[in-house]
């Protein structure tokens, strides 16, 4: 039995009167890759933001590698440095070069020296084909390159868990593959990942488990082969039919 990397129990979250997460139970084993699918507004992004403590939850518990991170008195900055998150809109720091984007947190949070941080960043950038972009500013890069830098920036903190929030949704179609390939490489390297995505064929390809979110609940989950070819719930069937109609599966 592999160790549990992440467990959510009865997690609830409301924005005002609008309840976005209505009791989420979800577990991730170490090295597991779980994809969250579902329509926009089903709660995928909120779920990821809650795991990273960017949004405080109203009820329930979240446990990261055996430690409850939603308990009172937990140091949020300590938790966040162990969890990497990549956003749909990249969110690179526009006033810093690629290298400084990647080295900022390792230097200021992990306390690495400039030399060590830069050497590690350069190696990571090289691994993902970004070595030549080291000294460029984000606005000089393509969307795909920016998103890959954002992934490298998160990886530079040596996270134990990666959260990916629709990381290809803002990209031109021809740039999607280069980003997905990076994620695939991470999965092969054993990174534990929780991925919200609209790329169904990618999810089918990479996920060990797929969770279908609908109106703040996990309606159905299982191995991708099962969910995509033989969904049990009518809502899942409807959703997948619409995806197939749109030619995305």
């Amino acid at each position: 039995m592999r160790n549990e990397a992440l467990r959510l129990e009865r997690v609830r979250k409301s924005f005002g009167k609008n309840e976005v997460l209505k009791g989420i139970d979800l577990g991730l084993a170490e090295h597991e890759v779980v994809c969250l699918i579902g329509a926009s507004g089903s709660g995928k992004s909120t779920l990821l933001r809650c795991v990273n403590l960017l949004e405080p939850i109203d009820e329930g518990t979240i446990v990261l590698l055996g430690e409850e991170i939603t308990a009172q008195g937990v140091k949020v900055n300590e938790v966040r440095r162990r969890i990497g998150i990549v956003f749909q809109s990249y969110n690179l720091f526009p006033h810093m070069s690629v290298l400084r984007n990647v080295t900022l947190a390792p230097r200021r949070v992990l306390g690495l020296s400039r030399e060590v941080a830069e050497a590690e960043a350069t190696a990571l950038l090289g691994r993902f084909g970004l070595a030549e972009r080291r000294d460029e500013y984000p606005d000089r890069l393509s969307g795909g390159q920016q998103q890959r830098v954002a992934i490298v920036r998160a990886l530079a903190m040596r996270p134990e868990l990666m959260l990916l929030d629709e990381v290809t949704s803002a990209l031109d179609p021809e740039l999607v593959a280069e980003v997905l390939n990076v994620i695939r490489e991470l999965a092969e390297g054993g990174m534990t990942m929780l991925i919200a995505t609209h790329e169904m064929s990618f999810a089918r390809d990479i996920a060990s488990r797929v969770c279908f979110l609908d109106a703040g609940r996990i309606l159905e989950q299982g191995p991708p082969g099962e969910i995509f070819s033989d969904p049990k719930e009518p809502r899942t069937q409807q959703f997948l039919e619409r995806i197939i109609e749109a030619g995305r599966l």
């Binding site: 960017l54 720091f93 949070v109 920036r153 903190m157």
Partner: protein, 283 residues
């Protein structure tokens, strides 16, 4: 506001001058000459012109008083250089304090709001009087070593920091929340996020309006004269009293304009550069 405060129009005029060849240059030149001629003609033919000319445009008195006023003007420059340096730091502190989150910091936020409301509301001249005459009147021994010049600078710092703090705050608010989310998600603390991510972006964005406030500050250094220090305006008053002629005032005005014009052009240039960058970013 000067024409230069409208970057769109300003740059378009310059753009035409450069871009559309010789023809438009001559048209612009001719219309400027005609316009200037009309203005000069109206002034020079007015019934009071000979008297005004004697009182304000006396070459001899100008030449005589200029060196002295220019020397006094160095004090204005010193006042605003010191004030600007302090304002840059103090106003940023106020803006950051005003943005502190949570109920615990309510008193500090309230204090920052009261401060900006108060010092944007009171006329600068009153602040200078109140501090310049009021503070020494307290007869506290540790206050006695401070000169009127010191109180003048303090007054300018207090008044202009209130404006500049608001400029900073607008800049901080303009940095998108996703930047804060990105920084916090990497484990940076809130102060670190402000220092490395939010404030550097905010300051870059507010440099033009900030310089605009500083142009105002440079002029207001003349108000410090009211509590004693002999800067350019006070010196010209002395010269006027000695000569019964207003030319020294003109001399002082000229010095102030010479000082603010480079600042105004720098501001325009920065605004135009930001516009170009935004256009390039959108493309």
């Amino acid at each position: 506001m000067s024409v230069g405060a409208d970057p769109g129009r300003g740059s378009r005029i310059l753009g035409d001058l450069r871009g559309s060849g010789q023809g438009s240059v001559w048209i612009a030149l001719a219309s400027t000459v005609v316009f200037a001629a009309i203005v000069v003609a109206v002034v020079v033919t007015s019934p009071g012109w000979p008297a005004v000319k004697r009182a304000f445009f006396n070459r001899e008195i100008f030449v005589d008083s200029f060196p002295e006023i220019a020397r006094a003007f160095l004090l204005n420059i010193r006042i605003f250089l010191i004030a600007e340096a302090v304002i840059l730091v103090f106003a940023l502190l106020i803006a950051v304090l005003r943005g502190l989150p949570g109920p615990i910091f309510f008193p500090i936020r309230a204090l920052a709001v009261i401060y900006t409301d108060l010092f944007r509301g009171i006329p600068t001249i009153l602040v200078i009087y109140i501090l310049g005459f009021g503070a020494p009147a307290l007869q506290l021994s540790w206050l006695e070593r401070f000169t009127p010049l010191f109180w003048g600078i303090v007054s300018l710092v207090l008044v202009y920091s209130a404006y500049v703090a608001e400029v900073y705050r607008a800049g901080i608010d303009s940095v998108h929340q996703s930047q804060e989310a990105a920084a916090r998600s990497l484990g940076l603390s809130r102060p670190q996020t402000l220092r490395f991510v939010i404030i550097p972006q905010a300051v870059r964005r507010v440099i033009p309006p900030l310089l605009n406030d500083f142009i105002g500050l440079q002029k207001d250094t003349a108000l410090v004269a009211l509590i004693g220090p002999i800067e350019a305006f006070r010196q010209s008053q002395i010269d006027v009293a000695a000569t019964f002629n207003y030319t020294p005032y003109l001399c002082t005005a000229l010095l102030f304009v010479l000082l603010t014009i480079p600042m105004a052009r720098l501001t325009d240039w920065l605004i135009a550069r930001d516009r170009r960058r935004q256009l390039a970013g959108a493309a």
